[in-house]
Amino acid sequence: MSALVDTARLTAENAIALVERGEISAAELHAAYLDAIGERDGELHAFLRTVAEPEGASIPIALKDVISTKGVETTAGSRILAGYTPVFDATVAARCKASGLTLLGKTNTDEFAMGSSTENSAYGPSHNPWDPSRVPGGSGGGTAAAVSGGLAPWGLGSDTGGSIKQPSALCGNVGLRPTYGTVSRFGVVAFASSLDQVGPVAKTVRDTALLYRIISGRDPADSTTVDLPSPVELPQGERLDGVRIGVPRQAVALEAIEPGVRAEFERSLELAAELGAEVAECDLPLSFDYGLPCYYLIAPAEASSNLARYDGVRYGPRSEGATYREMVERTRDEGFGAEPKRRIMLGTYALSAGYYDAYYGQAQKVRTLIGREHAEAFEQFDVLATPTSPTVAFPIGEKAADPLAMYACDLLTIPSCLAGLPGLNVPCGLSDGLPVGLQLIGPQFAENTLFRVGYALEQALGLDLVPGRLR
């Protein structure tokens, strides 16, 4: 049946058109993707589990395994949730279903979305479709590998400090981290509540916008959500006249940026200027000097509290213990991997009596300043541009033993996350045959601007984003 469509190349928009024209049924399309998964996921390990029986009249979607799906096991990549089957759908899952999308399966993730390579998944790493010896990025590497490997037309990820944008960059996808508060977090396994946002990962900017339209808007079950001030527009213009693009000096000065990444990034800026954009440098000193340390206090602090509920009392595996305390300690010791443990300890310390002001309190102040610094930049610019990741996809195992090197993967994505701002990854070239991503940051609720700029560049670049091995 996979002969019916070329899943490696089919965009969501085109797939919807095929279904609407009756050229293929929703069930046939679902089956075609399951066939592709059967063929290639042994190698990629993008999915933790698939759903054989589609319910819905439209096209399939892959959901990161932090998104609760009623009746379908949801583990967040952790042993501590092995066998946990939610009795309710996350709001984003429910909205996808309400739009007729069929749940293809749950994709791999670093445990509790903590990581930048999926190597922290308790169920083994995913592999990059461009080069399976390399990571797909993380934490949403499963969704990214699935979309770029033609195993799903599109999918949802969750982004706390870069978990949508960075894997999209490493796999050659378009990925949006929306403005904080525009997409419901209800039913999404929490990592750091004040930073977590669900967003789309797709092959094109228009697909990304389409999926964002489906999942966004206020949810009465999530008090931190709002309605979009204006509806999502599918981009179509190919010019960028009058668009002011700021390039943070402190970001591009980072030595960690590989030459190949830098070259593709600079070429895309030149292209933007050719399309009519005004490109100029700007300053965000606090954001890039203090963003990473600030993030690694706030996110672990919230995580230490969010992960307290995994105690073996109500769901998930339980280790035996003679007392309540012993049972909880053993359950958590055996259930959590090294990275969640590291962050729980870090966060517990940062919130502890006597350290709160120096760490968590101080980080919150820095966060406010980072937000202010971005707001000032947006008085002069419509979007900010940086590379999304300092490097292309790195070999599996290269950074797994060095947490600080792994944390540095998100150096460029983190500051705007702290500021609650939307960010879009658009593939902007290849370096040594591996995708390079351009990060576009906008002010709050400026997703339409990001789509417009991203689309114009995407059209002008005209990259073939099907991994060479699948062409």
Binding site: V66, I67, S68, T74, A76, L81, Y84, P86, V87, F88, A90, R185, F186, G187, V188, V189, A190, A192, S193, S194, P220, A221, D222, S223, T224, A301, E302, S304, S305, L307, A308, R309, D311, V313, R314, Y315, Y324, R325, V328, T348, L351, S352, A353, G354, Y355, Y356, D357, Y360, G361
Partner: protein, 530 residues
């Protein structure tokens, strides 16, 4: 460093000063155990005072003043829980009133109960508090099986209501009790420890958890240490309870646990304003027990100081049966609740229009009514009427022509004693009975009272009965009673006036309640005086 006069330089005062530092979020002396002190933040830390009284056994005898602050938890009677839509009722089957939110399932998020947000403001206004334009929920982190999320959501450093004052009418005048704060939080679930001897967690074979109660809305009210006797504490609580009940926000019943009180108690030499180390008493389930618990703790602390010892900060359970205080097992490590603002909720910013609307809707509060009615009757009667929810009937009965004191006595004693719901009594009928109560037979009166709550009740058939007041008819009976009780007659004549009631009662019994009490009274008095 040299100490200046009045500096905090002796150990007890220093202890009090240390424990009354304003708490910071995340600090070890945070909310649970020391909020009473931690949030006071006034200038009492380092009082200028004479240095006479101390724990020096050789010092001259001093009188001691109790210093009491209360922490009161009130369960709001909202239809649904604080952060989810589960019913917040009482008594349903175990774990039937639960959902992913109150069970702490992955990804579930809290949504605040709008009514609870409104009710805490209403209560704050009734307690004379300032309503915070911005209140913030925080997470209080600790592990316990009754806490499904591993943290309790509670307002912490920015509560909804601060700096209030309740004036408690006392016979000698109003007594002001400061309200430090009133804040919203969610209740924990209920652990049931199975097996073992004590029913407590230590030694139990296993623990079952009923999550029905988990997540029900609570208001915590913290008073300043402005209460100076067990009696004052009781009066304050009676008034507070009545205020809460009348606001319609809680049933506030201690037996059901919808009102829970912990008392922080210390003592100091009378006439000083120092604050010595305090102890907390928990597990008291009625106002009377609270008063007894406080009295026991005050006595214990005075004993400690006077024997040259030093009171150590501790928490005690009050054992109702024995009237004794049992220390709770000390924790191995200090609690650190790692408070931080709850990121799943936005700050609570009550609109000014709402606050003003609620202020306008406040009914006349019980304290004001005690004062008003007290001027017409007396303080004690007013207190009983108001805190018993009886004054509406009293006002109606008086308006229908009854005399005030008599009406108050009949309502507070007979109506309450007969278990009649005062809200169904027709005041006009009661007024007739009050007026005729000494004329008609006692038996008829009692029967009328017991039936006064019945629909369509009319006093007339009872009023038609006449008590026997004819001296000729009563005299032989009186003589018979006096003859039968020579010892009591002797005592009465020896000056024991109180026995008059005994003789009257005997006569009433003999006449099966048909005699006119006043006539019997006069006759007995006359005979005995002879």
């Amino acid at each position: 460093m040299t100490s200046s006069p009045g500096a905090c330089d002796d150990p007890p005062a220093l202890l009090a000063a240390v424990s009354s530092r304003p708490a910071k979020p995340g600090s070890a002396d945070g909310c649970r155990r020391s909020r009473h002190d931690a949030f006071r933040g006034r200038a009492e830390h380092c009082p200028l005072r004479p240095r006479t009284a101390s724990n020096d056994p050789g010092a001259r005898e001093v009188s001691w003043e109790p210093v009491i602050g209360l922490e009161i938890h009130v369960q709001l009677k909202t239809r649904t829980k604080m952060f989810c839509r589960c019913p917040a009722g009482f008594g349903a089957g175990e774990n039937t009133q639960t959902c992913p939110v109150c069970l702490g399932f992955p990804g579930a998020l809290p949504v605040p109960n709008r009514l609870a947000l409104e009710w805490v403001v209403k209560l704050g206004l009734a307690l004379g508090c300032e309503i915070a334009p911005r209140a913030v929920f925080a997470r209080k982190n600790y592990f316990y099986p009754d806490l499904p999320k591993g943290y309790q959501i509670s307002q912490y450093d920015l509560p909804s209501c601060i700096s209030g004052k309740m004036l408690v009418p006392l016979p000698e005048g109003d007594h002001a009790v400061g309200i430090v704060r009133a804040h919203l939080e969610e209740d924990a679930a209920k652990n049931v420890h199975v097996g073992g001897r004590t029913g407590r967690i230590g030694g139990a074979e296993h623990t079952l958890v009923d999550y029905n109660r988990g997540g029900t809305p609570l208001v915590e009210i913290v008073t300043a240490p402005d209460i100076h006797s067990a009696e004052e504490a009781k009066r304050f609580l009676q008034l507070l309870r009545q205020t809460i009940v009348e606001l319609g926000i809680s049933d506030a019943e201690m037996e059901k646990g919808t009102l829970r009180v912990d008392a922080n108690v210390s003592v100091r030499p009378a006439g000083t304003d120092e604050l010595r180390t305090r102890c907390e008493i928990k597990n008291m389930n009625s106002f009377t027990h609270i008063a007894r618990g406080i009295e026991a703790e005050v006595a214990r602390q005075i004993g400690v100081w006077e024997s040259g010892g030093e009171v150590e900060q501790h928490t005690y359970d009050f054992d109702v049966a024995t009237g004794t205080l049992t220390p709770r097992r000390a924790k191995e490590e200090a609690d650190d609740y790692r408070y931080f603002p709850e990121p799943d909720l936005v700050p609570v910013e009550p609109p000014a229009e709402m606050v003003e609307r609620l202020r306008g809707e406040l009914p006349e509060l019980p304290a004001a009514r005690i004062r008003r009615i007290g001027e017409l009757l007396d303080h004690e009667r007013a207190l009983v009427l108001v805190t018993g929810g009886l004054e509406r009937l009293w006002e109606g009965t008086v308006a229908a022509g009854a005399e005030g004191v008599a009406a108050s006595n009949v309502i507070s004693n007979q109506i309450v004693g007969a278990g009649v719901d005062p809200s169904v009594v027709e005041p006009a009928e009661l007024a007739k009975l009050v007026a005729a109560r000494e004329r008609i037979p006692r038996k008829a009166f009692d029967e009328a009272i017991s039936r006064i709550g019945e629909p369509g009740f009319t006093a007339d058939p009872f009023l038609a009965q006449e008590a026997v007041s004819d001296t000729a008819a009563l005299e032989p009976i009186v003589d018979k009673i006096l003859a039968a009780n020579p010892a009591q007659v002797e005592q009465y004549r020896g000056g024991k006036d109180g026995l008059l009631g005994f003789f009257v009662g005997q006569v009433m019994k003999e006449t099966k309640g048909q005699a006119d009490a006043r006539a019997v009274n006069e006759l007995v008095r006359a005979k005995l005086g002879a």
